[in-house]
């Protein structure tokens, strides 16, 4: 399993891997927002954490269709299906590798992006922390979407459509926890713990659904 994890990690960061594309996409989304809403620093500072979350959500979804696609194309997906290890575990490991390669750099970059949006220091930390806790949930739930769409021609476009509605609770609690850290009367911990709970919940449901979908796709 460690070998699979390292293999996926290497594939993702090497040429043509797509880990960098997600990062660039995140950067582009963040850069486009000030052009759309205007260079009002007060406004940007207010919506900054939410923009960070939306950017991270979209960037995560962009890379997801590749999660099983390349392996289906070169046939190694069938090998993963017939090996002894339960498919759920394989999917979970692949999700974690994808998250480490494509999403973790994005989380690390989010404070820098936040600075460009004039987000204050506490909110920067809170946004990075909530992204760290919440983005695996998006990857897990997205894996289910990617597995469902793997056998479709041009399934790449369908993945965000299928996954976005399911990712809404994660977005809600991620952003509300971030804002709770900045505004005083609201406590940070309850929404943050719900976010963590959602992440753990999707860590179970996502790989289960993805494994089931992969088996159907292989039939």
């Amino acid at each position: 399993m460690l070998a699979l994890y390292l293999r996926d990690l290497k594939l993702a960061v090497r040429a043509g891997g797509g880990a960098l594309i997600g990062l660039l996409f995140f950067f582009s989304v963040i850069a486009v927002i000030p052009f759309a809403v205007g260079p009002d620093l007060a406004l940007l500072s207010r919506i900054g954490p939410a923009v960070l979350w939306i950017g991270a959500l979209l960037a995560t979804l962009i890379g997801l269709d590749r999660l099983f696609q390349a392996e289906r194309e070169d046939g190694s997906l069938d090998l993963l299906l017939i090996q002894d290890m339960p498919l759920v575990v394989t999917v979970l490991v692949k999700c974690l590798a994808h998250w480490t390669a494509s999403v973790l750099p994005l989380v690390a970059l989010s404070p820098v992006m936040g600075l460009m949006l004039n987000v204050e220091a506490r909110a920067l930390g809170a946004a990075a922390l909530t992204l760290l806790a919440g983005s695996p949930a998006i990857t897990f739930i997205g894996a289910a979407g990617a597995a469902i769409a793997v056998s479709l021609p041009r399934g790449g476009l369908l993945v965000p459509v299928l996954v976005l509605p399911l990712a809404v609770p994660v977005l809600i609690f991620g952003v509300s926890a971030t804002y709770a850290a900045v505004t005083d009367p609201q406590p940070f911990l309850p929404p943050f713990l719900i976010l963590v709970a959602l992440m753990l919940f999707f860590a179970v449901i996502g790989p289960l659904a993805a494994a089931a979908a992969l088996r159907q796709a292989a039939d």
């Binding site: 979407g145 469902i148 369908l158 299928l162 976005l164 509605p165 399911l166 979908a213």
Partner: protein
């Protein structure tokens, strides 16, 4: 049919028997639906308006049952999805495929009537409160499921993949149901289906309940009819494939 429930269901597994049953049941259901709608709408338009909301309260009799049915339809789809994945039952495939557009329509109706009600009550066509937003998400999920069904040619595989998506999406239903209790937003909290009995005045409750039954029967009428159409559509497509392969094999010169 040997009287037991399992026996009945496996008996219905035969689509021909199901079609015969649907042929008998749908007219009855349609009749009950029509009667309930006549009574419900008559009650809805003759009972007094609310002292605060005036006549706009009557939107409730269209809006609230539509929202209930939008959720119930999803639960019917989830049950059918289980049937698809666990028992690989072909009728379950047909059931959740046929239910998705109906559910989308109920959700759309709930959103539109809610918007029409929101304008005079809240002063805005659309408010991003928890209930509205989560129902909008439900609408998007219905559209995603329909899109997935359309994207795959092979019906059996489409049904199994859609079933997985439906079951994953079930997490949204409790969020919709409890959104008004968890988040203190503009939408009023539950007043009919709540612990401790309904808080709504009986004068409004009766038309609402009749309308809810009318909607429920309308749903089952449409659902059975849509299932019948889907089965017939599959038969036609299967026959076409057989005919096409015969042409390919050169045994038949022309069809039709």
């Amino acid at each position: 049919m040997n009287g037991t429930r399992g026996g009945m269901i496996s008996g219905l597994a035969n689509p021909t028997r199901f079609l015969a049953l649907v042929g008998r049941v749908v007219p009855v259901l349609a009749g009950i639906t029509a009667v309930l709608f006549i009574i419900g709408l008559w009650l809805a338009f003759t009972t007094e308006g609310d002292y605060q909301q005036g006549d706009t309260v009557r939107i409730m009799y269209i809006h609230v049952p539509a929202a209930w049915l939008a959720m119930m339809c999803y639960m019917v789809m989830a049950a059918a999805a289980l049937g698809t994945l666990v028992w690989r039952h072909p009728l379950a495939d047909v059931a959740h495929k046929a239910a998705a557009p109906i559910g989308a329509a109920f959700t759309f109706l709930a959103l539109v009537t809610g918007s029409l009600w929101g304008k005079p009550m809240w002063g805005a066509w659309w408010v991003w409160d928890a209930r509205l937003t989560s129902v909008l998400v439900l609408f998007l999920m219905y559209l995603g499921i329909i899109a997935l069904h359309r994207a795959i040619d092979e019906p059996a595989r489409a049904a199994r993949l859609a079933a997985i998506l439906i079951l994953v999406g079930v997490v949204n239903i409790p969020i919709i149901k409890f959104s008004v209790d968890w988040w203190n937003t503009l939408h009023q909290p539950a007043s009919v289906l709540r612990i401790g009995g309904p808080t709504i005045d009986p004068e409004f409750l009766w038309p609402l309940l009749v309308m809810a039954f009318a909607y429920t029967f309308a749903f089952f009428t449409m659902h059975f009819a849509a299932m019948r159409n889907e089965i017939l559509r599959r038969r036609v497509s299967a026959m076409r494939k057989v005919a096409a392969s015969r042409i390919g094999a050169g045994t038949v010169e022309r069809v039709s």
